[in-house]
Structures are given as C-alpha cells and as structure tokens.
C-alpha cells in the first residue's frame, strides 16, 4: 500500500469514527458536537481534495454513455452526500447553542439538521458499499502486511 493510500485510509477511518460520535450529541459534550462537527466538515473537504482527479474526470464524462452505471451512481450518491453534509453544517450553525449562539432557525432548522443527518448516515453506508471492492483489497493487503 503506498503512502497516499495509507493517508487516505487513515483520514477516512478518523472521519468515520468522528462522524459516528457526532450522531449522539450528548455522548461527550455539546461543545465537542459543535466544534468537531465543523472540524469534520474540513476533513471532508480534504477528502474531496484527495479525490479531486476522480471528481474532475467523472464530472466531464457524466453524460457519457460509455461511463459505467456504477460510477454514475457513485457520483450521484457523492453529490447527494455533499448536499446533505452541507445542510447538516449550515443548519448546525443556525441552531448552535454553544459556539455561535445564533439559534435563529427554531424547529425548522432542527428538522433540517436531523433529516439531513439521517439521510447522510444512509448515504454514507451506500458510499462505503460502492467502495466495497477497494475496501476489500485494502483489508486483504493489511492482513498480508500484518503477517
């Protein structure tokens, strides 16, 4: 496994663990939920930068009939994931109680926050599933490396 893949995988695992922790806001503290929630959004941007070649390549060919359906589906899922994460972050800032003290949205933004977070969880699962062969390869390389 090369250095770039190792860094990417480490970042992904960290993101996964943090995102899972963020789903229960009271498990650590409200400040943690809000600050790390914003922090993970930047990790998410780094994840996009790491995969920018794929994004550029597929964006150019998204209407191309020769592009595999799986790639197109992955692109749509990723786009939905970006939208839902943006909604989670924006609504999170608007209903912030500790960091920003804005709290302008009331119930509407809370509903947006919960709904987009629930959708993100499902989309993340699909995103992981679509990378199944890659993850399987990484796990088997890791198992070989450990031997």
């Amino acid at each position: 496994m090369n250095v770039k893949n190792t860094v990417k995988l480490t970042l992904d695992v960290i993101m996964l663990l943090i995102v899972a922790l963020l789903y229960e806001k009271r498990v650590i503290s409200m400040s943690f939920h809000e600050i790390v929630g914003l922090g993970v959004f930047f990790l998410f941007l780094i994840h996009l930068v790491f995969n920018q070649r794929w994004i550029k390549h597929v964006s150019k060919r998204i209407l191309d009939k020769t592009l595999p359906t799986k790639t197109k589906l992955g692109y749509v899922i990723n786009a939905l994931l970006v939208i839902s994460w943006a909604l989670v972050s924006i609504s999170g800032v608007l209903i912030s109680k500790v960091v920003f003290h804005i709290n302008v949205g009331g119930m509407l933004w809370k509903t947006v926050h919960y709904t987009s977070a629930a959708v993100s969880l499902i989309l993340l699962g699909i995103h992981l599933g679509l990378h199944g062969p890659w993850l399987k390869g990484i796990v088997s390389i890791g198992a070989l490396w450990m031997k």
Binding site: L21, R26, M107, T115, L121
Partner: protein, 124 residues
C-alpha cells in the same frame, strides 16, 4: 469475513437494543409534527410536545442510554453549576460501534446487490 459477520450481527443488535431506529424515524415524526403545528414560531420547543409526551418509551431509553437522545432535553447540572454532560467512555464506544455497524450493514447490502447484479450478468 468474520469481522463482517460480527459487524452485521452487532448492527442488527444495535438496531434492536439502542434508540437508533427511533433516531432515524425522528426526522419523519418531526416533519409530521411540523405540518400539524403549522406555525412553529410560537415558542414550542422541539420535541417537548411531540416526543416527551407522545412517546412513552423515551424515559426508559434515556435511563438505558444516559442523556444521549438526540434532542433538547433538560440538561444536567455539573458540580460547578454550569450546564454539561457526563462523559462515559463506554457510551462513546457503544455509540461509535452502533453507528459504524449500521453503516457497514447498509454497505454490505449495497455490496451484496452489486455482486448479485454482476453474477447475474455473467450467467446471462
């Protein structure tokens, strides 16, 4: 394979034992409430009317899972008098395992569907 099976079993166990399903259905419930209320700017706090009164199991869930339910609830007071939450490592690990296993569960279903489609195409 063993790890995958274990995570799948844990995912199913998490859905059954923790409040994940309640949490996942919360947006739908809150949207229904939002529609019923019509005007949501009249000072009703989120969940105070809907979840706390309409959901008899919530109290039990909180007892089981601490104050971790994902909606505004009366906050616990710390010794210093400030509003805070008690951090428990066990709870944090449980939360991480539960949500990660839910993701793996969905991922496995997607991967299974992909494999099924691939195999079917090969046969045909």
């Amino acid at each position: 394979m063993v790890c995958l099976t274990a995570s799948l079993l844990f995912g199913v166990y998490s859905i059954k034992t923790t409040n994940i399903m309640q949490w996942l259905t919360m947006p739908i419930v809150s949207m229904v409430q939002l529609g019923e209320q019509g005007d949501f700017s009249n000072g009703h706090s989120y969940g105070a009317k809907g979840f706390s009164q309409n959901n008899p199991t919530e109290k039990g869930e909180r007892k089981k899972f601490g104050e971790s339910h994902d909606m505004p609830t009366p906050k616990s007071e710390t010794k210093a008098g400030s509003v805070g939450f008690e951090f428990k490592l066990g709870n944090a690990i449980k939360v991480v395992c539960s949500y990660v296993s839910i993701m793996i569960l969905i991922a496995t279903i997607v991967y299974g569907i992909e494999m099924f489609i691939k195999r079917k195409r090969l046969i045909r």
